[in-house]
Subunit: 277 residues, 2 copies
Amino acid sequence: MEKEYSSEEEFLKNYDVTRFDRPSVTSDICLFSVADEGKDNYRKLSKKCYSVLLVKRNNYPYKDKWCLPGGFVKIDETSEDAARRVLADETNLHNVFLEQLYTFDSVDRDPRCRVFAVSYLGLVDKNKLDDSLFPNASWFNITCLEDKKSYHVTLDNGNEQIKFVVGKTLKEKTTDRYRFDILENDGLAFDHPKLIIAGMERLKNKIEYTDIVFNMMGDYFTLGELQQVYEVILGKELLDPAFRRIIAGKVVKTDKMQTGGGHRPSVLFTYKNKIES
Amino acid sequence: MEKEYSSEEEFLKNYDVTRFDRPSVTSDICLFSVADEGKDNYRKLSKKCYSVLLVKRNNYPYKDKWCLPGGFVKIDETSEDAARRVLADETNLHNVFLEQLYTFDSVDRDPRCRVFAVSYLGLVDKNKLDDSLFPNASWFNITCLEDKKSYHVTLDNGNEQIKFVVGKTLKEKTTDRYRFDILENDGLAFDHPKLIIAGMERLKNKIEYTDIVFNMMGDYFTLGELQQVYEVILGKELLDPAFRRIIAGKVVKTDKMQTGGGHRPSVLFTYKNKIES
DNA sequence: TGAATAGTGTCTGTGAGACAATATTAT
DNA sequence: ATAATATTGTCTCACAGACACTATTCA
Protein backbone atom coordinates (compact mmCIF):
# COMPACT_ATOMS: atom_id res chain seq x y z
CA MET A 1 0.00 0.00 0.00
CA GLU A 2 2.46 2.61 1.23
CA LYS A 3 5.33 3.18 -1.13
CA GLU A 4 8.80 2.99 0.40
CA TYR A 5 10.85 6.16 0.43
CA SER A 6 14.49 6.42 1.27
CA SER A 7 14.32 9.80 2.98
CA GLU A 8 11.90 12.27 4.46
CA GLU A 9 12.69 14.77 1.72
CA GLU A 10 11.85 12.25 -0.96
CA PHE A 11 8.65 11.32 0.83
CA LEU A 12 7.58 14.94 1.14
CA LYS A 13 8.38 15.68 -2.48
CA ASN A 14 6.04 12.90 -3.53
CA TYR A 15 3.34 13.54 -0.97
CA ASP A 16 -0.06 13.78 -2.58
CA VAL A 17 -2.39 15.88 -0.48
CA THR A 18 -5.37 15.05 -2.64
CA ARG A 19 -5.13 11.36 -1.88
CA PHE A 20 -7.73 11.72 0.87
CA ASP A 21 -10.96 13.63 0.96
CA ARG A 22 -10.46 16.77 2.95
CA PRO A 23 -13.03 18.79 4.85
CA SER A 24 -13.33 22.56 4.92
CA VAL A 25 -12.60 24.50 8.09
CA THR A 26 -14.28 27.67 9.26
CA SER A 27 -13.56 29.96 12.15
CA ASP A 28 -16.70 31.19 13.92
CA ILE A 29 -16.79 33.77 16.67
CA CYS A 30 -19.13 34.02 19.62
CA LEU A 31 -18.58 37.67 20.44
CA PHE A 32 -20.13 38.89 23.67
CA SER A 33 -20.41 42.27 25.28
CA VAL A 34 -22.19 43.81 28.22
CA ALA A 35 -23.27 47.38 27.75
CA ASP A 36 -25.64 50.03 28.99
CA GLU A 37 -29.22 49.66 28.05
CA GLY A 38 -30.38 53.15 28.97
CA LYS A 39 -31.92 54.62 32.08
CA ASP A 40 -35.47 54.45 33.35
CA ASN A 41 -34.87 57.14 35.88
CA TYR A 42 -32.27 59.88 36.17
CA ARG A 43 -31.27 58.51 39.52
CA LYS A 44 -30.99 54.85 38.71
CA LEU A 45 -27.96 53.25 37.16
CA SER A 46 -28.45 52.28 33.57
CA LYS A 47 -29.16 48.61 33.29
CA LYS A 48 -26.60 46.36 31.68
CA CYS A 49 -27.54 44.01 28.92
CA TYR A 50 -25.72 40.93 27.75
CA SER A 51 -25.41 40.79 24.00
CA VAL A 52 -23.99 38.75 21.16
CA LEU A 53 -22.96 39.94 17.73
CA LEU A 54 -24.67 38.43 14.70
CA VAL A 55 -24.37 39.06 10.99
CA LYS A 56 -26.99 38.64 8.32
CA ARG A 57 -26.12 36.09 5.68
CA ASN A 58 -26.35 37.40 2.16
CA ASN A 59 -25.62 34.08 0.47
CA TYR A 60 -26.84 30.57 0.49
CA PRO A 61 -27.06 28.50 2.54
CA TYR A 62 -29.31 30.09 5.19
CA LYS A 63 -29.58 33.19 2.99
CA ASP A 64 -31.07 36.16 4.91
CA LYS A 65 -30.76 34.35 8.23
CA TRP A 66 -28.62 35.63 11.07
CA CYS A 67 -25.50 33.77 12.12
CA LEU A 68 -22.34 34.24 14.12
CA PRO A 69 -19.56 36.02 12.27
CA GLY A 70 -17.31 33.46 10.64
CA GLY A 71 -15.71 32.26 7.47
CA PHE A 72 -13.43 29.75 5.85
CA VAL A 73 -9.89 29.57 7.16
CA LYS A 74 -7.35 30.18 4.43
CA ILE A 75 -4.63 27.67 3.83
CA ASP A 76 -1.92 29.97 5.11
CA GLU A 77 -3.54 31.49 8.18
CA THR A 78 -4.44 30.10 11.59
CA SER A 79 -8.04 29.88 12.70
CA GLU A 80 -7.39 32.74 15.11
CA ASP A 81 -6.00 34.88 12.30
CA ALA A 82 -9.09 34.00 10.30
CA ALA A 83 -11.31 35.03 13.19
CA ARG A 84 -9.65 38.43 13.37
CA ARG A 85 -9.83 38.89 9.61
CA VAL A 86 -13.50 37.91 9.54
CA LEU A 87 -14.38 40.27 12.37
CA ALA A 88 -12.65 43.10 10.60
CA ASP A 89 -14.24 42.32 7.23
CA GLU A 90 -17.77 41.48 8.31
CA THR A 91 -18.28 43.74 11.28
CA ASN A 92 -15.47 46.33 11.32
CA LEU A 93 -14.24 45.29 14.76
CA HIS A 94 -10.54 45.25 15.56
CA ASN A 95 -8.33 44.27 18.51
CA VAL A 96 -10.78 41.93 20.11
CA PHE A 97 -9.99 39.45 22.87
CA LEU A 98 -10.31 35.92 21.50
CA GLU A 99 -9.88 32.50 23.03
CA GLN A 100 -10.49 29.17 21.36
CA LEU A 101 -13.78 27.65 22.47
CA TYR A 102 -14.50 24.32 20.84
CA THR A 103 -14.33 22.59 17.51
CA PHE A 104 -17.73 21.55 16.18
CA ASP A 105 -17.62 18.83 13.61
CA SER A 106 -20.90 16.96 13.23
CA VAL A 107 -20.83 15.37 9.83
CA ASP A 108 -23.98 17.11 8.63
CA ARG A 109 -23.65 20.49 10.28
CA ASP A 110 -23.28 22.33 6.98
CA PRO A 111 -25.38 21.50 3.91
CA ARG A 112 -22.61 22.48 1.49
CA CYS A 113 -20.00 19.98 2.51
CA ARG A 114 -18.17 18.62 5.50
CA VAL A 115 -17.14 21.62 7.58
CA PHE A 116 -15.16 21.76 10.81
CA ALA A 117 -15.92 24.90 12.79
CA VAL A 118 -13.17 26.04 15.15
CA SER A 119 -15.08 28.43 17.35
CA TYR A 120 -13.75 31.34 19.37
CA LEU A 121 -15.07 33.14 22.39
CA GLY A 122 -14.63 36.88 21.88
CA LEU A 123 -15.17 39.72 24.33
CA VAL A 124 -15.34 43.46 23.77
CA ASP A 125 -16.21 46.56 25.68
CA LYS A 126 -19.15 47.75 23.64
CA ASN A 127 -19.21 51.20 25.22
CA LYS A 128 -15.71 51.93 24.00
CA LEU A 129 -16.20 50.94 20.37
CA ASP A 130 -15.30 53.91 18.24
CA ASP A 131 -15.61 52.01 14.98
CA SER A 132 -19.11 51.86 13.68
CA LEU A 133 -20.43 48.45 12.88
CA PHE A 134 -21.08 47.48 9.30
CA PRO A 135 -24.80 47.49 8.52
CA ASN A 136 -25.08 43.73 8.05
CA ALA A 137 -23.91 43.20 11.65
CA SER A 138 -26.03 43.79 14.72
CA TRP A 139 -25.88 43.30 18.47
CA PHE A 140 -28.65 41.12 19.90
CA ASN A 141 -29.62 41.24 23.56
CA ILE A 142 -29.60 37.84 25.17
CA THR A 143 -32.35 36.57 27.42
CA CYS A 144 -31.61 33.08 28.65
CA LEU A 145 -33.85 30.98 30.85
CA GLU A 146 -32.08 27.91 32.08
CA ASP A 147 -33.45 24.88 33.79
CA LYS A 148 -32.00 21.48 34.61
CA LYS A 149 -32.35 20.16 31.09
CA SER A 150 -32.39 23.07 28.68
CA TYR A 151 -31.71 26.67 27.79
CA HIS A 152 -34.51 28.83 26.37
CA VAL A 153 -32.86 31.72 24.60
CA THR A 154 -34.29 34.84 23.01
CA LEU A 155 -32.10 37.19 21.01
CA ASP A 156 -33.43 40.65 20.24
CA ASN A 157 -31.86 43.53 18.35
CA GLY A 158 -34.81 45.88 18.61
CA ASN A 159 -36.25 44.89 15.25
CA GLU A 160 -36.03 41.16 15.09
CA GLN A 161 -36.33 38.30 17.52
CA ILE A 162 -34.60 34.95 17.31
CA LYS A 163 -35.55 32.12 19.61
CA PHE A 164 -34.05 28.73 20.20
CA VAL A 165 -34.01 25.95 22.74
CA VAL A 166 -30.94 23.85 23.43
CA GLY A 167 -31.09 20.71 25.56
CA LYS A 168 -28.26 19.61 27.81
CA THR A 169 -27.36 16.13 28.95
CA LEU A 170 -24.63 15.52 31.49
CA LYS A 171 -22.00 13.06 30.38
CA GLU A 172 -20.88 10.19 32.55
CA LYS A 173 -18.12 10.80 35.13
CA THR A 174 -17.76 14.45 34.34
CA THR A 175 -19.28 17.22 36.33
CA ASP A 176 -19.03 19.85 33.66
CA ARG A 177 -19.41 18.22 30.26
CA TYR A 178 -22.76 18.39 28.59
CA ARG A 179 -23.94 17.20 25.27
CA PHE A 180 -25.92 20.01 23.68
CA ASP A 181 -28.78 19.34 21.27
CA ILE A 182 -30.77 21.90 19.39
CA LEU A 183 -34.42 21.26 20.26
CA GLU A 184 -35.96 24.31 18.59
CA ASN A 185 -34.41 26.94 16.39
CA ASP A 186 -36.26 29.87 14.93
CA GLY A 187 -33.92 32.03 12.94
CA LEU A 188 -30.30 31.20 13.64
CA ALA A 189 -28.21 29.56 10.93
CA PHE A 190 -26.27 26.28 11.19
CA ASP A 191 -25.66 24.81 14.63
CA HIS A 192 -24.90 28.26 16.01
CA PRO A 193 -27.34 27.91 18.90
CA LYS A 194 -24.94 25.33 20.31
CA LEU A 195 -22.00 27.68 19.84
CA ILE A 196 -23.76 30.45 21.71
CA ILE A 197 -24.61 28.18 24.63
CA ALA A 198 -21.06 26.87 24.74
CA GLY A 199 -19.76 30.43 24.74
CA MET A 200 -22.08 31.57 27.51
CA GLU A 201 -21.17 28.58 29.64
CA ARG A 202 -17.46 29.14 29.11
CA LEU A 203 -17.76 32.77 30.06
CA LYS A 204 -19.88 32.01 33.11
CA ASN A 205 -17.29 29.55 34.37
CA LYS A 206 -14.22 31.59 33.61
CA ILE A 207 -15.49 34.84 35.06
CA GLU A 208 -15.26 33.13 38.45
CA TYR A 209 -11.66 32.02 38.35
CA THR A 210 -9.87 34.18 35.79
CA ASP A 211 -9.54 37.86 34.92
CA ILE A 212 -11.29 37.40 31.60
CA VAL A 213 -14.06 39.87 32.47
CA PHE A 214 -11.69 42.82 32.18
CA ASN A 215 -11.65 42.28 28.44
CA MET A 216 -15.17 43.66 28.41
CA MET A 217 -14.48 46.63 30.66
CA GLY A 218 -13.10 50.05 29.79
CA ASP A 219 -9.88 51.34 31.29
CA TYR A 220 -11.76 52.93 34.18
CA PHE A 221 -14.88 51.54 35.76
CA THR A 222 -16.76 51.66 39.02
CA LEU A 223 -17.20 48.59 41.14
CA GLY A 224 -20.94 48.95 40.67
CA GLU A 225 -20.55 48.62 36.91
CA LEU A 226 -18.23 45.66 37.27
CA GLN A 227 -20.69 44.01 39.61
CA GLN A 228 -23.48 44.51 37.10
CA VAL A 229 -21.40 42.77 34.44
CA TYR A 230 -20.81 39.84 36.76
CA GLU A 231 -24.50 39.67 37.56
CA VAL A 232 -25.58 39.70 33.94
CA ILE A 233 -23.13 36.98 32.97
CA LEU A 234 -23.77 34.80 35.99
CA GLY A 235 -27.51 35.35 35.74
CA LYS A 236 -27.89 36.08 39.43
CA GLU A 237 -27.53 38.94 41.87
CA LEU A 238 -24.52 39.27 44.13
CA LEU A 239 -24.21 40.84 47.55
CA ASP A 240 -22.02 43.92 47.58
CA PRO A 241 -19.56 43.00 50.33
CA ALA A 242 -18.99 39.52 48.97
CA PHE A 243 -18.42 40.88 45.49
CA ARG A 244 -15.98 43.48 46.70
CA ARG A 245 -13.98 40.86 48.51
CA ILE A 246 -13.80 38.68 45.42
CA ILE A 247 -12.47 41.34 43.09
CA ALA A 248 -10.41 43.24 45.67
CA GLY A 249 -7.18 41.65 44.48
CA LYS A 250 -7.87 42.23 40.81
CA VAL A 251 -8.46 45.98 40.73
CA VAL A 252 -6.70 49.15 41.82
CA LYS A 253 -8.39 52.24 43.15
CA THR A 254 -7.63 55.47 41.26
CA ASP A 255 -8.06 59.08 42.37
CA LYS A 256 -10.72 59.62 39.74
CA MET A 257 -14.39 59.73 40.68
CA GLN A 258 -17.50 59.20 38.64
CA THR A 259 -20.09 61.87 39.38
CA GLY A 260 -23.32 62.87 37.73
CA GLY A 261 -25.79 60.29 38.99
CA GLY A 262 -28.42 61.45 41.42
CA HIS A 263 -26.51 59.78 44.22
CA ARG A 264 -23.15 59.39 45.89
CA PRO A 265 -20.31 59.38 43.36
CA SER A 266 -18.14 56.33 43.11
CA VAL A 267 -14.44 55.76 42.81
CA LEU A 268 -13.11 54.62 39.46
CA PHE A 269 -10.93 51.53 39.43
CA THR A 270 -8.58 50.00 36.90
CA TYR A 271 -7.51 46.45 36.24
CA LYS A 272 -4.51 45.38 38.27
CA ASN A 273 -2.42 43.83 35.57
CA LYS A 274 -0.58 40.88 36.95
CA ILE A 275 1.70 40.27 33.99
CA GLU A 276 5.35 40.77 34.84
CA SER A 277 7.77 40.52 32.01
CA MET B 1 -18.11 37.44 -7.96
CA GLU B 2 -20.81 35.33 -6.36
CA LYS B 3 -23.27 33.90 -8.82
CA GLU B 4 -26.92 34.51 -8.04
CA TYR B 5 -29.04 31.48 -7.26
CA SER B 6 -32.78 31.42 -6.97
CA SER B 7 -32.98 28.81 -4.23
CA GLU B 8 -30.90 27.05 -1.65
CA GLU B 9 -31.31 23.74 -3.48
CA GLU B 10 -29.97 25.23 -6.68
CA PHE B 11 -27.08 26.80 -4.81
CA LEU B 12 -26.18 23.52 -3.14
CA LYS B 13 -26.40 21.59 -6.40
CA ASN B 14 -23.86 23.93 -7.93
CA TYR B 15 -21.61 24.26 -4.89
CA ASP B 16 -18.01 23.57 -5.77
CA VAL B 17 -16.11 22.36 -2.74
CA THR B 18 -12.81 22.49 -4.55
CA ARG B 19 -13.03 26.22 -5.12
CA PHE B 20 -10.91 26.87 -2.03
CA ASP B 21 -7.79 25.19 -0.79
CA ARG B 22 -8.69 22.89 2.04
CA PRO B 23 -6.52 21.68 4.88
CA SER B 24 -6.33 18.17 6.27
CA VAL B 25 -7.63 17.38 9.73
CA THR B 26 -6.23 14.85 12.15
CA SER B 27 -7.47 13.63 15.50
CA ASP B 28 -4.69 13.16 18.05
CA ILE B 29 -5.12 11.64 21.47
CA CYS B 30 -3.30 12.45 24.68
CA LEU B 31 -4.05 9.28 26.58
CA PHE B 32 -3.06 9.24 30.23
CA SER B 33 -3.13 6.62 32.90
CA VAL B 34 -1.89 6.22 36.43
CA ALA B 35 -0.85 2.75 37.40
CA ASP B 36 1.22 0.75 39.84
CA GLU B 37 4.94 0.86 39.44
CA GLY B 38 5.86 -2.03 41.68
CA LYS B 39 6.86 -2.29 45.33
CA ASP B 40 10.14 -1.61 47.01
CA ASN B 41 9.05 -3.28 50.18
CA TYR B 42 6.38 -5.84 50.95
CA ARG B 43 4.83 -3.44 53.44
CA LYS B 44 4.82 -0.29 51.38
CA LEU B 45 2.13 0.59 48.91
CA SER B 46 3.22 0.30 45.33
CA LYS B 47 4.05 3.68 43.92
CA LYS B 48 1.84 5.14 41.25
CA CYS B 49 3.26 6.45 38.03
CA TYR B 50 1.73 8.88 35.60
CA SER B 51 2.03 7.74 32.02
CA VAL B 52 1.14 8.66 28.48
CA LEU B 53 0.63 6.38 25.52
CA LEU B 54 2.86 6.84 22.47
CA VAL B 55 3.14 4.98 19.19
CA LYS B 56 6.16 4.56 16.99
CA ARG B 57 5.79 6.05 13.53
CA ASN B 58 6.56 3.63 10.72
CA ASN B 59 6.19 6.18 7.93
CA TYR B 60 7.48 9.56 6.99
CA PRO B 61 7.43 12.21 8.24
CA TYR B 62 9.17 11.63 11.57
CA LYS B 63 9.71 8.00 10.62
CA ASP B 64 10.78 5.88 13.63
CA LYS B 65 10.03 8.69 16.07
CA TRP B 66 7.42 8.38 18.80
CA CYS B 67 4.21 10.39 18.65
CA LEU B 68 0.76 10.51 20.16
CA PRO B 69 -1.74 8.13 18.58
CA GLY B 70 -3.62 9.95 15.85
CA GLY B 71 -4.67 9.96 12.25
CA PHE B 72 -6.59 11.71 9.55
CA VAL B 73 -10.29 12.24 10.13
CA LYS B 74 -12.38 10.67 7.40
CA ILE B 75 -14.89 12.75 5.56
CA ASP B 76 -17.85 10.96 7.10
CA GLU B 77 -16.78 10.58 10.70
CA THR B 78 -16.40 13.05 13.55
CA SER B 79 -13.01 13.73 15.08
CA GLU B 80 -14.11 11.82 18.17
CA ASP B 81 -15.09 8.83 16.05
CA ALA B 82 -11.71 9.08 14.39
CA ALA B 83 -10.00 9.15 17.78
CA ARG B 84 -11.76 5.95 18.81
CA ARG B 85 -10.98 4.27 15.51
CA VAL B 86 -7.33 5.27 15.69
CA LEU B 87 -6.97 4.02 19.26
CA ALA B 88 -8.47 0.70 18.27
CA ASP B 89 -6.33 0.38 15.15
CA GLU B 90 -3.00 1.63 16.44
CA THR B 91 -3.04 0.49 20.04
CA ASN B 92 -5.88 -2.01 20.48
CA LEU B 93 -7.61 0.09 23.15
CA HIS B 94 -11.41 0.28 23.27
CA ASN B 95 -14.03 2.12 25.33
CA VAL B 96 -11.81 4.93 26.43
CA PHE B 97 -12.96 8.16 28.04
CA LEU B 98 -12.34 11.05 25.63
CA GLU B 99 -12.91 14.76 25.85
CA GLN B 100 -11.97 17.35 23.28
CA LEU B 101 -8.87 19.24 24.33
CA TYR B 102 -7.79 21.87 21.83
CA THR B 103 -7.37 22.38 18.12
CA PHE B 104 -3.78 23.01 17.10
CA ASP B 105 -3.40 24.72 13.77
CA SER B 106 -0.06 26.44 13.31
CA VAL B 107 0.47 26.80 9.61
CA ASP B 108 3.72 24.84 9.58
CA ARG B 109 3.04 22.22 12.21
CA ASP B 110 3.14 19.37 9.67
CA PRO B 111 5.71 19.20 6.88
CA ARG B 112 3.37 17.36 4.52
CA CYS B 113 0.69 19.98 4.21
CA ARG B 114 -1.57 22.20 6.27
CA VAL B 115 -2.98 20.05 9.03
CA PHE B 116 -5.45 20.93 11.76
CA ALA B 117 -5.11 18.67 14.78
CA VAL B 118 -8.22 18.30 16.89
CA SER B 119 -6.78 16.85 20.05
CA TYR B 120 -8.49 14.74 22.69
CA LEU B 121 -7.72 14.09 26.31
CA GLY B 122 -8.16 10.39 27.01
CA LEU B 123 -8.10 8.54 30.32
CA VAL B 124 -7.93 4.84 31.09
CA ASP B 125 -7.44 2.60 34.04
CA LYS B 126 -4.24 0.87 33.00
CA ASN B 127 -4.51 -1.83 35.65
CA LYS B 128 -7.76 -3.06 34.22
CA LEU B 129 -6.66 -3.32 30.61
CA ASP B 130 -7.32 -6.86 29.48
CA ASP B 131 -6.46 -6.12 25.86
CA SER B 132 -2.81 -6.31 25.14
CA LEU B 133 -1.28 -3.33 23.44
CA PHE B 134 -0.06 -3.61 19.90
CA PRO B 135 3.73 -3.76 19.80
CA ASN B 136 4.17 -0.38 18.13
CA ALA B 137 2.47 1.30 21.09
CA SER B 138 4.05 1.83 24.49
CA TRP B 139 3.31 3.54 27.81
CA PHE B 140 5.86 6.15 28.84
CA ASN B 141 6.24 7.28 32.44
CA ILE B 142 6.06 11.03 32.80
CA THR B 143 8.44 13.06 34.90
CA CYS B 144 7.60 16.73 34.75
CA LEU B 145 9.51 19.50 36.45
CA GLU B 146 7.63 22.74 36.27
CA ASP B 147 8.79 26.23 37.08
CA LYS B 148 7.32 29.67 36.45
CA LYS B 149 8.27 29.72 32.80
CA SER B 150 8.62 26.17 31.56
CA TYR B 151 8.01 22.47 31.82
CA HIS B 152 10.94 20.05 31.68
CA VAL B 153 9.53 16.69 30.74
CA THR B 154 11.10 13.26 30.54
CA LEU B 155 9.21 10.31 29.13
CA ASP B 156 10.55 6.83 29.77
CA ASN B 157 9.22 3.45 28.73
CA GLY B 158 12.04 1.43 30.23
CA ASN B 159 14.02 1.24 26.99
CA GLU B 160 13.92 4.71 25.57
CA GLN B 161 13.90 8.22 26.92
CA ILE B 162 12.33 11.26 25.33
CA LYS B 163 12.98 14.73 26.66
CA PHE B 164 11.49 18.06 25.84
CA VAL B 165 11.10 21.54 27.26
CA VAL B 166 8.01 23.65 26.70
CA GLY B 167 7.91 27.32 27.67
CA LYS B 168 4.78 29.01 28.93
CA THR B 169 3.79 32.65 28.70
CA LEU B 170 0.72 33.98 30.42
CA LYS B 171 -1.65 35.85 28.13
CA GLU B 172 -3.01 39.25 29.02
CA LYS B 173 -6.16 39.47 31.17
CA THR B 174 -6.52 35.75 31.59
CA THR B 175 -5.41 33.84 34.61
CA ASP B 176 -5.30 30.45 32.98
CA ARG B 177 -4.32 30.87 29.34
CA TYR B 178 -0.75 30.24 28.38
CA ARG B 179 0.99 30.30 25.08
CA PHE B 180 3.14 27.18 24.86
CA ASP B 181 6.34 27.11 22.85
CA ILE B 182 8.58 24.13 22.28
CA LEU B 183 12.03 25.13 23.46
CA GLU B 184 13.73 21.76 23.17
CA ASN B 185 12.50 18.49 21.76
CA ASP B 186 14.49 15.31 21.68
CA GLY B 187 12.45 12.53 20.17
CA LEU B 188 8.77 13.44 19.97
CA ALA B 189 7.19 14.02 16.57
CA PHE B 190 5.31 17.13 15.40
CA ASP B 191 4.19 19.66 18.02
CA HIS B 192 3.14 16.85 20.33
CA PRO B 193 5.10 18.22 23.29
CA LYS B 194 2.55 21.03 23.34
CA LEU B 195 -0.34 18.59 23.24
CA ILE B 196 1.05 16.64 26.17
CA ILE B 197 1.47 19.79 28.25
CA ALA B 198 -2.02 20.96 27.35
CA GLY B 199 -3.40 17.57 28.32
CA MET B 200 -1.58 17.49 31.65
CA GLU B 201 -2.76 20.99 32.48
CA ARG B 202 -6.35 20.19 31.57
CA LEU B 203 -6.30 17.08 33.72
CA LYS B 204 -4.69 18.88 36.63
CA ASN B 205 -7.38 21.54 36.56
CA LYS B 206 -10.34 19.26 36.05
CA ILE B 207 -9.40 16.74 38.70
CA GLU B 208 -10.16 19.48 41.23
CA TYR B 209 -13.66 20.37 40.17
CA THR B 210 -15.06 17.43 38.23
CA ASP B 211 -15.34 13.66 38.62
CA ILE B 212 -13.04 13.04 35.66
CA VAL B 213 -10.53 11.09 37.75
CA PHE B 214 -12.89 8.14 38.09
CA ASN B 215 -12.29 7.40 34.42
CA MET B 216 -8.85 6.20 35.43
CA MET B 217 -9.96 4.14 38.41
CA GLY B 218 -11.25 0.60 38.54
CA ASP B 219 -14.70 -0.23 39.85
CA TYR B 220 -13.36 -0.69 43.37
CA PHE B 221 -10.51 1.26 44.87
CA THR B 222 -9.19 2.30 48.25
CA LEU B 223 -9.03 5.92 49.25
CA GLY B 224 -5.29 5.57 49.54
CA GLU B 225 -5.04 4.58 45.88
CA LEU B 226 -7.33 7.39 44.84
CA GLN B 227 -5.26 9.84 46.83
CA GLN B 228 -2.09 8.60 45.14
CA VAL B 229 -3.67 9.25 41.75
CA TYR B 230 -4.56 12.80 42.81
CA GLU B 231 -1.05 13.34 44.09
CA VAL B 232 0.61 12.11 40.92
CA ILE B 233 -1.58 14.27 38.71
CA LEU B 234 -1.40 17.37 40.87
CA GLY B 235 2.32 16.88 41.43
CA LYS B 236 2.09 17.45 45.16
CA GLU B 237 1.26 15.62 48.35
CA LEU B 238 -2.09 15.97 50.06
CA LEU B 239 -3.02 15.64 53.69
CA ASP B 240 -5.23 12.67 54.40
CA PRO B 241 -8.11 14.35 56.23
CA ALA B 242 -8.35 17.15 53.71
CA PHE B 243 -8.38 14.69 50.84
CA ARG B 244 -11.06 12.57 52.44
CA ARG B 245 -13.30 15.56 52.91
CA ILE B 246 -12.88 16.56 49.27
CA ILE B 247 -13.87 13.22 47.82
CA ALA B 248 -16.35 12.23 50.54
CA GLY B 249 -19.31 13.22 48.38
CA LYS B 250 -18.05 11.45 45.28
CA VAL B 251 -17.53 7.93 46.58
CA VAL B 252 -19.50 5.25 48.38
CA LYS B 253 -18.13 2.85 50.93
CA THR B 254 -18.64 -0.84 50.14
CA ASP B 255 -18.48 -3.82 52.45
CA LYS B 256 -15.40 -5.13 50.65
CA MET B 257 -11.96 -4.77 52.14
CA GLN B 258 -8.53 -4.89 50.61
CA THR B 259 -6.17 -7.01 52.60
CA GLY B 260 -2.72 -8.38 51.94
CA GLY B 261 -0.46 -5.41 52.68
CA GLY B 262 1.70 -5.57 55.76
CA HIS B 263 -0.62 -3.11 57.44
CA ARG B 264 -4.20 -2.30 58.30
CA PRO B 265 -6.54 -3.30 55.48
CA SER B 266 -8.59 -0.59 53.82
CA VAL B 267 -12.19 -0.33 52.77
CA LEU B 268 -12.91 -0.45 49.06
CA PHE B 269 -15.00 2.36 47.65
CA THR B 270 -16.87 2.86 44.40
CA TYR B 271 -17.73 5.95 42.40
CA LYS B 272 -21.00 7.52 43.44
CA ASN B 273 -22.56 7.99 40.06
CA LYS B 274 -24.49 11.20 40.05
CA ILE B 275 -26.28 10.73 36.73
CA GLU B 276 -30.01 10.38 37.19
CA SER B 277 -31.98 9.57 34.10
C1' DT C 1 -35.14 66.45 51.90
C1' DG C 2 -35.31 62.01 49.77
C1' DA C 3 -34.23 58.54 46.45
C1' DA C 4 -30.66 56.13 44.99
C1' DT C 5 -26.17 54.20 44.92
C1' DA C 6 -21.41 53.82 47.34
C1' DG C 7 -18.97 51.81 50.63
C1' DT C 8 -17.93 49.57 55.32
C1' DG C 9 -18.59 46.77 59.61
C1' DT C 10 -19.57 42.59 61.71
C1' DC C 11 -21.70 38.23 63.00
C1' DT C 12 -22.00 33.44 61.88
C1' DG C 13 -21.27 29.13 59.84
C1' DT C 14 -18.66 26.31 56.73
C1' DG C 15 -14.72 24.36 55.29
C1' DA C 16 -9.70 23.84 54.44
C1' DG C 17 -4.97 23.33 56.63
C1' DA C 18 -2.45 21.32 60.12
C1' DC C 19 -1.42 18.14 63.44
C1' DA C 20 -2.49 14.53 66.66
C1' DA C 21 -4.28 10.26 67.95
C1' DT C 22 -6.05 5.72 67.38
C1' DA C 23 -6.82 1.20 64.66
C1' DT C 24 -5.38 -2.83 62.29
C1' DT C 25 -2.89 -5.83 59.67
C1' DA C 26 1.32 -9.22 57.96
C1' DT C 27 5.60 -10.49 58.96
C1' DA D 1 6.52 -6.31 68.59
C1' DT D 2 6.95 -3.37 64.63
C1' DA D 3 6.55 -1.01 60.39
C1' DA D 4 3.38 0.58 57.59
C1' DT D 5 -0.98 2.30 56.16
C1' DA D 6 -6.05 3.34 57.46
C1' DT D 7 -9.08 6.23 59.61
C1' DT D 8 -10.91 9.67 62.65
C1' DG D 9 -10.81 13.78 65.84
C1' DT D 10 -10.16 18.47 66.63
C1' DC D 11 -8.18 23.08 66.75
C1' DT D 12 -7.58 27.15 64.26
C1' DC D 13 -7.95 30.41 60.74
C1' DA D 14 -9.73 32.29 56.48
C1' DC D 15 -13.45 33.43 54.09
C1' DA D 16 -18.24 33.57 52.05
C1' DG D 17 -23.18 34.62 53.08
C1' DA D 18 -26.14 37.63 55.22
C1' DC D 19 -27.57 41.75 57.07
C1' DA D 20 -27.06 46.26 58.99
C1' DC D 21 -25.26 50.59 58.96
C1' DT D 22 -23.12 54.95 57.36
C1' DA D 23 -21.83 58.24 53.45
C1' DT D 24 -22.72 61.21 49.64
C1' DT D 25 -24.71 63.16 45.80
C1' DC D 26 -28.33 65.80 42.82
C1' DA D 27 -32.99 67.04 41.48
